[in-house]
């Protein structure tokens, strides 16, 4: 029994002790980018194995900088769709080199992975049907509230439920598209999730005017690009590249492109101008976890 525990432990350590990412990229000439299928305008699929979004473009520029600094003639970027549940193990075991989705930087995750400087600060909001008359979380008493399995919003809902002393029924969608379908089909009265994911899903809905984002901001969460832990040279390369974009104003332009202008595939607008919290994160680049944001309030 003890021996097998050690054996498993040894395997885990061997898995974690990956070659440094920069060396790996240099020797193989490829980098694997973890992307999401439906994480609003941050990272989404255009179908046909193509991916786009704010974080995807930021990562493409980061990898271009990495390619330049490594002096590689050609860098092959492989796109691998990840989910809320498998993104951390895939980054840990080396399948994914850089995850460009909608991952909240929190202290628990920092035990397993590392985050680049925060590129986007998310506000968790409530989406409802426009004709429902719901305008705040207090009105959700005894209502069905949808959220997506494997996200931090589930815990956040629980916390709010206890703090406000209101009781609502949680319905869990298996992904964001599924949670939105719950709202659209009337199975849920509200969908609690990151504001930009809500905005993105509403923009893609059959009738965007039927939905509205309402209520107070339930939580503020730093969203960042995720990389392997204990790889300071790669973290520095990624951070330097991102900070350069923030300083040059390039970041604001990329943001504008994905969150304000019409975006593919349907050429609709998300219509989410850059928030003050995000601006602050760009002005003073940092990789603080969500816990630091909470105590500040």
């Amino acid at each position: 029994m003890k021996k097998s525990v050690f054996a498993i432990g040894a395997l885990l350590v061997a898995g974690l002790a990956q070659a440094q990412t920069l060396d790996k990229i240099k020797s193989s000439g490829t980098a694997t980018m973890g992307v999401r299928e439906s994480s609003g305008a941050l990272s989404f699929t255009l179908g046909d194995g193509k991916f786009a979004g704010f974080h995807v473009e930021v990562c493409q520029r980061v990898l271009a900088d990495v390619q330049k600094s490594l002096g590689l003639a050609k860098l092959d970027i492989k796109y691998l769709p990840v989910t809320s549940q498998n993104r951390i193990p895939l980054v840990q075991n080396g399948t994914v080199d850089i995850e460009c989705g909608s991952t909240t930087n929190n202290a628990t995750r920092q035990k397993d992975v590392s985050f680049a400087v925060t590129t986007f600060v998310e506000e968790v909001r409530i989406a409802v049907k426009a004709n429902s008359g719901i305008t705040s979380i207090a009105q959700l008493k005894d209502k069905n509230v949808a959220t997506t399995t494997g996200t931090t919003s589930v815990q956040l809902l629980r916390r709010n439920e206890r703090a406000a002393g209101i009781d609502f029924k949680e319905v869990f969608g298996k992904d964001h598209a599924d949670s939105f379908l719950l709202l659209e089909s009337g199975r849920a009265d509200a969908f609690v999730m990151d504001g930009q994911i809500l905005a993105g899903n509403i923009a893609k809905a059959k009738n965007p005017a039927d939905f509205r984002i309402v209520g107070e901001v339930l939580s503020v969460e730093p969203i960042a690009i995720m990389i392997r832990k204990d790889d300071p040279s790669f973290k520095k390369a990624v951070d330097d590249s991102i900070i350069a974009m923030m300083k040059s104003g390039e970041m604001a332009k990329i943001y504008d492109k994905w969150f304000v202008q019409p975006i593919p595939p349907s050429n609709t607008r998300v219509g989410l101008p850059v928030s003050d919290a995000t601006k602050a994160a760009w002005a003073t680049p940092n990789d603080k976890p969500v816990e630091d944001y909470l105590t500040k309030k």
Binding site: S84, R109, T149, G150, R162, V171, F172, D178, L181
Partner: protein
């Protein structure tokens, strides 16, 4: 308790504080163990209700398919092929999203109910196939013998064919009952918070997905294995000497 990080099961799901009795703190916060047990209970309830639905329709349709009446045979065949040829997850989506769109009254029905109906009907097709095979496995003379002594068709089934056919199909029914527990994990896709949902969500929250999936695996294994042993016991109890290799 702190070995292998198992103490996480005794921590509450909001602040990760240690809860003495491992289930519920004084302020009403529940622990991961409590959540695991709730999810397990939901999965078992789902499987149990689904099994009732599956047995009822499966046995009925299986019998209809062996009757001399062509109309009844067609009904049984159509039922079986319909539910057997559509993937389970697609059937659940249809029950959860498509049917309520056509019949608004169904929107009020909880996902749990729709899930066990869907799961039950899917399994009923498989049971119908087995019951039919069991009845057809009997020598044709049995049916004639029943008719020769003046039994009506229902009486022939009740007193001659079914008592033997059921004994023949007990082993495959055991497999089906175990399958239904395992298939209940698909209900996760229609937002029923059962064991698989617990494993995914808690794995994400605690950053220990392997531990949480192991816990769920053990729960599924135990459930299926208990059913296996119970059915084995039933099999031994209903054995008839001289039949099916029994002594």
């Amino acid at each position: 308790m702190a070995i292998l990080g198992l103490d996480i099961f005794c921590r509450d799901t909001i602040d990760r504080e240690f809860v003495g009795n491992c289930l519920k703190s004084a302020s009403g916060d529940t622990t991961y163990l409590h959540w695991l047990l709730t999810g397990w209970g939901t999965a078992l309830g789902l499987a149990l209700f689904a099994l009732v639905v599956a047995m009822f329709f499966g046995v009925l349709m299986g019998i209809l398919r062996t009757t001399p009446n062509k109309g009844l045979v067609f009904l049984g065949d159509a039922w079986t092929e319909l539910f057997r040829n559509v993937p389970l997850i697609v059937q659940l989506f249809i029950w959860y999203f498509v049917v309520p769109a056509a019949i608004p009254a169904l929107k009020e029905v909880p996902g749990f109910v729709l899930a066990f109906i869907g799961l039950g009907l899917f399994t009923s097709a498989r049971i119908s196939e087995q019951v039919k095979a069991g009845i057809n496995a009997l020598p044709r003379g049995q049916r004639y013998a029943g008719q020769a002594v003046g039994f009506t068709l229902p009486q022939t089934y009740r007193y001659v064919l079914l008592p033997m056919a059921f004994r023949i199909v007990l082993p495959p029914l055991t497999s089906e009952s175990m399958n239904i527990v395992k298939n209940s994990s698909v209900a996760f896709a229609v937002s029923v918070s059962e064991l698989t949902m617990f494993a995914r969500q808690s794995g994400e929250e605690t950053s220990q997905p392997i531990l949480m999936f192991l816990a769920a695996t053990v729960a599924y294994f135990v459930s299926a294995f208990v059913i296996n042993r119970f059915m084995k016991w039933v099999e031994v109890r209903v054995r008839v000497p001289g039949m099916l290799g029994a002594k």
